[in-house]
């Protein structure tokens, strides 16, 4: 940070913070961490403010793993995350109603009131884990994914070796801090002396993104493809000559859409990345060419793996095959899940430990990976990974009756639809769900059904349900 002390490090809340100011604030927050014991993991209840970002830096420099908590998520969900991580300390920039309930017996610190601090920042512990994020779980509960420093080092080494980012770059941070690509959008600019512009929390996100890209002449941005689907009809009115890199990840990117987007960004390269949270943010890349070949399904290829990553495509018996489930091994694959329940998702083959992504893929003739959908019931909503089983579990809990949740496409965007038993009070159900699930996991529509059709095995027949009610 010293080298770039006078440079702008961040723009947030309509003001700039230099590297010196950010470091000074980080020191103040660091000094709040009680010295009487060592904390292996520290929760950060996230607000869209400089203190929250400085808290991440303070926890990282302290040597503990940071656990971001989304203040818009239900208290029960955050409480479960805090319990699963055994959090004894939670930081938040401001007091809020849910904070005490989330913290439970854990201590909480308000960082906005941090006073000027004396003394240096020194590492108090040396935890192997950098951060712990929670993804939607097929068992009905969120699942903790601890990402190690070694995983993260490997990830950033790829970008440092393959990109020419420097202090003149302006990155836009468009993600919530509980979404792993935020780690790239926040740390990458700081690693090269660039400035990180944080998207305001208020307003309609895709519109705010374009506003920020224009207003701050952003040079590097990472977005989910859903943003493009949203803006598609306005492309003719959008021109962003200052953009150098337009990155995508989190969902399938369609060739036609990306080609139309390229017309808005005449000087930028479009790179499509892929990777589940378990392989540290992203681990494959495809450099998009608007004039290049279009895949059979129209989805931009996932490309080739990063250095240090090995992958195989397997069938249900874990034998290698041409088209099947994509599995990764190597330096970016997490050591294990927080709860240690790794059985179904990890396996050893040829003395290498592989992670099963649940994504179906094949190689094309140019040696790039091509995406073919999911092998299970996981879906993507606005880039968020959602296990339908988790939503169904919550709806059953909230309604006390059967429910089937599916993902449908409306206006080119993904939405969740829940089939529930007739006679349900939708308003009351929505209110109960708001205490169990984040907003993006609450079904957009509830369709009452007279009776759930069953298949030969006595299970609910999802296809018959769609045919009967759509």
């Amino acid at each position: 940070m010293r080298k770039f002390a006078a440079h702008n490090a961040m723009y947030i809340g309509q003001r700039y913070y230099t590297y010196a100011e950010l470091y000074e604030l980080t020191g103040r927050i660091y000094s709040l961490i009680p010295q009487d014991k060592v904390y292996k993991r520290i929760g950060i209840c996230c607000n869209n403010d400089i203190e929250t970002y400085a808290s991440i830096l303070a926890v990282s420099l302290y040597g503990a793993a940071y656990v971001p908590l989304n203040r818009d998520f239900p208290v029960l969900r955050n409480r479960k995350i805090a319990e699963d991580c055994g959090l004894e300390l939670i930081m938040c920039s401001t007091e809020n109603d849910g904070l005490k309930a989330i913290a439970g017996d854990a201590q909480y610190l308000l960082t906005a009131s941090a006073q000027a601090a004396e003394g240096r920042i020194v590492k108090r512990t040396d935890q192997p884990t950098s951060y712990i994020l929670f993804t939607s779980g097929s068992t009905g509960e969120p699942k903790g994914v601890p990402v190690s420093h070694a995983n993260l080092r490997s990830f950033f080494n790829y970008f440092l070796a393959n990109y020419d980012f420097d202090e003149r770059d302006r990155f836009l941070q468009t993600y919530e801090l509980t979404f792993d690509v935020s780690v790239f959008s926040f740390f990458m600019p700081l690693m090269v002396g660039a400035c990180c512009y944080v998207l305001p929390a208020e307003g309609i996100k895709p519109l705010k993104i374009v506003e920020c890209l224009q207003k701050h002449t952003i040079t590097v941005v990472s977005m989910v493809p859903g943003v493009l689907r949203y803006l598609d009809s306005y492309f003719k009115e959008i021109v962003l000559p200052g953009l150098r890199f337009s990155f995508f990840s989190g969902d399938a990117l369609y060739h036609e859409l990306a080609a139309r987007w390229s017309g808005c960004i005449p000087n930028a390269a479009i790179h499509n990345f892929y990777g589940p949270t378990e392989t540290t943010i992203v681990c494959t890349r495809y450099i998009f060419d608007p004039q290049g070949p279009v895949t059979e399904n129209g989805i931009v290829p996932l490309g080739k793996p990063f250095e240090g990553i090995e992958l195989i495509i397997v069938n249900e018996d874990l034998q290698e095959t041409e088209k099947g489930e994509l599995c990764f091994s190597g330096t970016q694959v997490i050591p294990e899940y927080l709860d240690g329940a790794n059985g179904e998702k990890f396996f050893v083959k040829n003395e290498k430990r592989y992670y099963k992504t649940g994504d179906l893929a094949s190689w094309n003739i140019t040696g790039d990976l091509v995406f073919h959908g999911r092998a299970d019931s996981q879906v993507k909503v606005n880039g968020y990974r959602v296990e339908l089983a988790e939503v169904e579990n919550a709806v059953r809990k909230a309604s006390g009756s059967e429910c089937i949740v599916m993902c449908v496409q409306e206006n080119k965007l993904s939405r969740l639809v829940a089939y529930t038993q007739k006679g349900m009070d939708e308003e009351a159900l929505r209110n109960r769900l708001a205490s169990l699930l984040p907003e993006y996991m609450i079904p957009h529509k509830f369709i009452p059904v007279d009776a759930f059709p069953l298949n030969a095995n006595g299970k609910i027949d999802r296809k018959a349900l769609i045919n009967a009610y759509i």
């Binding site: 208020e202 307003g203 309609i204 996100k205 895709p206 519109l207 374009v210 506003e211 949203y230 306005y234 009115e237 959008i238 606005n382 409306e410 206006n411 965007l413 939405r415 929505r430 708001a434 907003e439 957009h444």
Partner: protein
């Protein structure tokens, strides 16, 4: 019937239809924060529904200014030549 409804009344009907709430009340100061289901996806539906109701097309720069219902009313008035 429709001729007798003013712009804000017609806009309110569009909101009620999009958010599927017959008793929804909106005012010029209503923002996305005030309606639970008003997310970015519904916003897109809302704009399409307003365009259809008033038989107009908003430009991207107009859409970017829609922070509250009042902004939409101003744009509608401008489109209909009232301003």
């Amino acid at each position: 019937m429709r001729e007798h409804m003013d712009t804000s009344e017609r806009l309110q009907q569009v909101f009620r239809k999009v958010f599927q709430k017959d008793d929804l009340l909106v005012s010029a100061s209503t923002t996305a924060k005030d309606i639970r289901m008003w997310d970015s996806l519904t916003h897109l539906e809302l704009i399409a529904a307003v365009e259809e109701e008033f038989n107009i097309k908003f430009s991207f720069s107009e859409v970017m200014q829609f922070n509250a219902v009042g902004d939409m009313l101003v744009a509608l008035s401008r489109k209909s030549g009232e301003i």
